[in-house]
């Protein structure tokens, strides 16, 4: 896979995930899966976690307005790099969504939910951040 395609795919995935998780929390609150204090606490924990990663993607998207800028990243990437870059954000987002579902269906208490979120952030957040930083670090101006 070439770098520009990986960047685009991961950017879209992160932005969509961020919106979906945000909407998931709102919908669950409206259906009675979360009380008001639980909803506000969940938002304040989950949204900053995702925003840090989505910020990298949005930063990249805003710098590649033109197709020519995107074409600058046409190098073929190693399989292991592509695999890791896909795996970590997907697991991270799925873990957050899974925890929200577990909480609203009462498979986890709110305390367990908060502790598990912190664990997920510690386990995957740091690795995911590192991988995405390596992917989005290069600016298109430098490649011109």
């Amino acid at each position: 896979m070439i770098e520009s395609r990986l960047r685009n795919t991961i950017s879209i995935f992160l932005i969509v995930s961020h919106v979906v998780i945000f909407l998931l929390l709102i919908v669950m609150f409206m259906l009675g899966g979360l009380t008001q204090p639980e909803f506000t606490t969940s938002l304040s924990v989950v949204v900053p976690m995702l925003a840090a990663l989505t910020g990298l993607a949005v930063g990249y998207v805003t710098t590649v307005k033109k197709k020519a800028q995107m074409a600058a990243f046409s190098e073929e990437l190693s399989g292991v790099y592509v695999f890791t870059t896909f795996l970590l954000p997907i697991v991270f987002v799925l873990a957050i969504a899974g925890l929200i579902i577990a909480k609203v269906t009462n498979y986890a208490s709110f305390e367990q939910f908060k502790i598990a979120l912190a664990a997920v952030e510690t386990t995957f957040g740091a690795y995911t951040g590192k991988v995405l930083a390596s992917l989005f670090d290069k600016q298109p101006e430098a490649a011109k």
């Binding site: 669950m28 269906t105 009462n106």
Partner: protein, 318 residues
């Protein structure tokens, strides 16, 4: 083989015997729930009682069942201090009595009973083993279930932890015949003393079962207290939209109904407390996830359910 078996079984038998003795002596829960103190203080604030009553302590003491007739020996003890600027005992007691009367006139129920039932509901404690002590300067008033009359009474006790003599407080009689927590059932007293209590318990169970069936939910979980002729205690879990009709939250409701004889028939005084927690589908939340339901919403629900109960008895309680 026999001596070996005998050696093994003897300690086991002693352990079982000891366990049996311990179980027989400790009918009350082992500990007060962690959140009970803060929950009770929160309720005092919400009920605007903190201006008059200061929370002192809530404790569990170990007592033997032999001394349970003495209110000071009951295992769950709540201590409250009556706040007054009076320095003279008689005047302070007078002010305390005025507060009790004012509460009864305003709310239609007795303040000592309200505090007592709030305590046993918050701590999930048997009512025969709890006492509320209210300090009025040097005097102490105990609110407890009198084992002889089977009524919650308020009596002055002395400082040496023994009952001195009961004094009758000049309390105003209830003026409202039917308030949010009161219902009068007309008619003669049934011959079996437990019949009315059983019917009331049955009514509540049917009420919640039907409500859940209409909402296509599983049947609720009931934890009834042992039937008494003049008391019905019931905990209901796994219901939705009863006290909070606009929210899809799980509700846990604790109902205590005192049955009192009045000239018109039987007067029911209902004390309700409720908690709510979030959750979709059929799995119930863990106990720690529940939060208290506001007093105003509980009052409204109490009024509704008691009206339904009156209608049920008016229709002959089939």
């Amino acid at each position: 083989m026999t001596p070996v078996l005998s050696l093994c079984t003897r300690p086991l038998a002693i352990l079982l015997l000891l366990a049996g003795i311990v179980t027989a002596q400790t009918q009350s829960p082992a500990a007060i729930p962690e959140s009970a103190q803060s929950d009770f203080q929160k309720w005092l604030r919400e009920a605007h009682l903190v201006e008059h009553l200061d929370f002192q302590k809530l404790r569990r003491i170990s007592t033997s069942s032999v001394t349970k007739d003495d209110p000071a020996k009951r295992s769950l003890q709540l201590a409250l201090l009556f706040l007054t600027d009076e320095t003279e005992e008689t005047k302070a007691v007078g002010k305390f009595v005025s507060l009790l009367n004012q509460y009864q006139v305003t709310n239609g129920v007795s303040l000592p009973e309200t505090i007592f039932y709030k305590l046993i509901q918050t701590c999930d404690w048997p009512r025969a083993d709890a006492v509320v002590e209210i300090f009025v300067l040097e005097d102490t008033f105990a609110v407890y279930l009198d084992s002889a009359t089977r009524q919650v009474v308020i009596r002055e006790i002395n400082q040496r932890d023994s009952v001195r003599q009961p004094i009758t407080l000049p309390l105003t009689a209830v003026t409202a015949s039917s308030g949010p927590g009161l219902a009068v059932l007309k008619g003669a007293k049934p011959t079996d003393p437990n019949t009315l209590a059983r019917k009331i318990e049955g009514f509540f169970e049917n009420y919640f079962v039907e409500a859940n069936r209409k909402a296509q939910l599983h049947d609720p979980q009931f934890s009834p207290e042992p039937i008494e002729a003049d008391y019905v205690g019931l905990k209901v879990a796994g219901v939705k939209r009863q006290v909070l009709p606009s929210d899809n939250y799980w509700e846990k409701i604790t109902i205590s109904v005192e049955i009192k004889s009045v000239p018109e028939g039987q007067k029911l005084v209902c004390y309700l407390s409720g908690k709510y927690a979030s959750g979709l589908f059929g799995r119930l939340p863990s106990d720690n996830d529940y939060a208290d339901i506001e007093e105003s919403k509980l009052r409204s629900f109490t009024g509704t359910i008691l009206r339904r109960l009156q209608d049920y008895f008016a229709a002959g309680a089939p």
